[in-house]
């Protein structure tokens, strides 16, 4: 436990994404394109003890501050993660992700006859309220958030 705290505290500047369900960690990595990042130090933790969710995953990215738009996209795969911004070893902000009204280039449209699966273009989905379902901007196909498949 002490070592885990040290790991987090050891970040001078950057972002910590905490309380990720273990099976979602690599989707988070992929969604934030961290697998293509060859500059910043990235620490990925798996199966760490958490009082809140049992075992958790954690991702730390040194010297990187994501926009709200980038981070809120995480809500599709894991709605309850904690986002921590660290500057000069201090936690300056702690917040949870919020599902944005529009998701661009994130969710795959399941309709093979949708234009977005047939043209070199990004998908766009809108969050429908109050149902909480996602609707394709182009073909109007609706899917439950839990069924959403992430674009590759």
């Amino acid at each position: 436990m002490k070592q885990q705290q040290l790991l987090v505290a050891a970040l001078e500047n950057g972002t910590v994404i905490d309380h990720i369900p273990c099976d979602k960690v690599f989707q988070v990595v992929s969604l934030l394109h961290l697998d293509q990042n060859d500059r910043d130090a990235i620490t990925i933790g798996l199966n760490l003890k958490s009082e809140r969710i049992g075992l958790k995953g954690i991702v730390k990215v040194a010297n990187k501050f994501f926009t709200d738009e980038e981070l809120n996209q995480l809500s599709v795969i894991t709605p309850n993660v904690t986002l921590i911004t660290i500057r000069d070893f201090e936690v300056v902000e702690k917040k949870e992700v919020q599902m944005p009204d529009t998701l661009t280039g994130i969710v795959h449209c399941p309709n093979p006859k949708c234009i977005c699966n047939n043209e070199p273009m990004r998908t766009v989905f809108h969050l429908e309220r109050p149902s909480g379902r996602l609707r394709c901007h182009y073909c109007n196909t609706e899917i439950a958030t839990a069924e959403a498949v992430i674009e590759h």
Partner: protein, 315 residues
């Protein structure tokens, strides 16, 4: 620049629909004009649809525009692997407006986002077909004198029939009561019933299709029940004759009731009905011309006031 494209009329306000109906009325009074002289209208049909294409091209021609385009995608560079975007960008260099039919859903929305000229959706897969809805609304208004408080009966394929779905959504401003008459396999999908509940649209589902049920109708909107829509062909054989409209079934109909059909008809309306005063599907198709003239003009930024004061009317 304001995007004047028409992708769907589901988003149109009551006011906008009534405005377009008034425009169509002007074109019914005087369909031949030189209002679009010097303009070029492109009709891009990535999926063949003779009826819709001829209607749009007639609309453009009768207003004095020149028409370019293709009726068969096999003659285009799409077969060489060109993207829709490239085709649209290329044609935008030549035409003032693009009327587009495409087999993929959402194609018109996408085209409207990338094209520098307005796009009119002439049907995108199973998604939207707003010009059909516009002519349906115009026909209902023309025959009933109002769009308000009507009993509209939808018969046949209510599951895949995009015309009935678009009509249902467009009528939400006008306090309608819908009546659904369909085989179980082709029943109105649950999310459209949810749509009705959310928008306060009353609906009734009927098991029978007979003179007594029809007696309450202001509009009887027939659609094709297609064999290929059934997963169970035994079921098709069992129900196919139950949704055919026959002359004796009109015995108790209101005198003002009109029968509409998006056409083509196969056998769902008996030919003997064609001469009955309730039959209105051929006039409905004719209204497609006026509705499409209105949609083209509106997309080009021509106002109702300009049309009312138009000095280019031909005799």
């Amino acid at each position: 620049m304001e995007n004047r494209s028409l992708v769907t009329i589901a988003d149109h306000s009551r006011q906008k629909i009534e405005y377009l109906l008034q425009m169509a009325r002007q074109f019914e009074l005087h369909p031949n004009r030189l209002l679009l002289q010097g303009r070029v209208v492109a009709t891009l049909f990535f999926e063949p649809s003779t009826r819709t294409r001829l209607s749009f091209e007639t609309a453009a021609n009768r207003l004095g525009a020149r028409v370019i385009g293709f009726a068969d995608p096999k003659v285009t560079s799409g077969t060489k692997g060109e993207t829709l975007k490239d085709t649209i960008m290329m044609v935008s260099n030549y035409a003032d407006i693009i009327v587009m039919r495409h087999y993929l859903e959402g194609a018109a929305r996408y085209a409207s986002e990338i094209a520098p000229v307005p796009i009119i959706n002439a049907g995108d897969g199973a998604n939207q077909h707003p010009s059909q809805t516009m002519l349906d609304l115009y026909t209902i208004y023309q025959t009933q004198g109002t769009l308000d408080n009507l009993h509209i009966y939808l018969v046949g394929d209510l599951k895949y029939g995009r015309t009935v779905h678009s009509l249902l959504m467009a009528m939400r401003h006008f306090n309608p009561t819908f009546h659904f008459i369909a085989p179980e396999e082709l029943a109105m999908p649950a999310h459209y019933k949810d749509y009705c509940r959310q928008h306060g649209i009353r609906y009734v589902e009927h098991q029978e299709f007979d003179a007594e049920v029809i007696s309450g109708a202001d509009i009887l909107y027939m659609t094709r029940v297609q064999r290929e829509r059934f997963t169970d062909l035994m079921e098709y054989e069992r129900v196919k004759d139950r949704y055919l409209l026959k002359l004796p079934m009109l015995a108790q109909a209101k005198p003002t009731m009109k029968i509409l059909h998006p056409l083509p008809r196969v056998n769902e309306i008996e030919y003997a009905i064609d001469d009955d005063p309730h039959a209105y599907y051929f006039q409905q198709a004719r209204n497609g011309l006026f509705a499409r003239q209105a949609l083209i003009c509106d997309a080009l930024g021509i106002t109702l006031e300009q049309i009312e004061n138009d000095t280019t009317i031909l005799s």
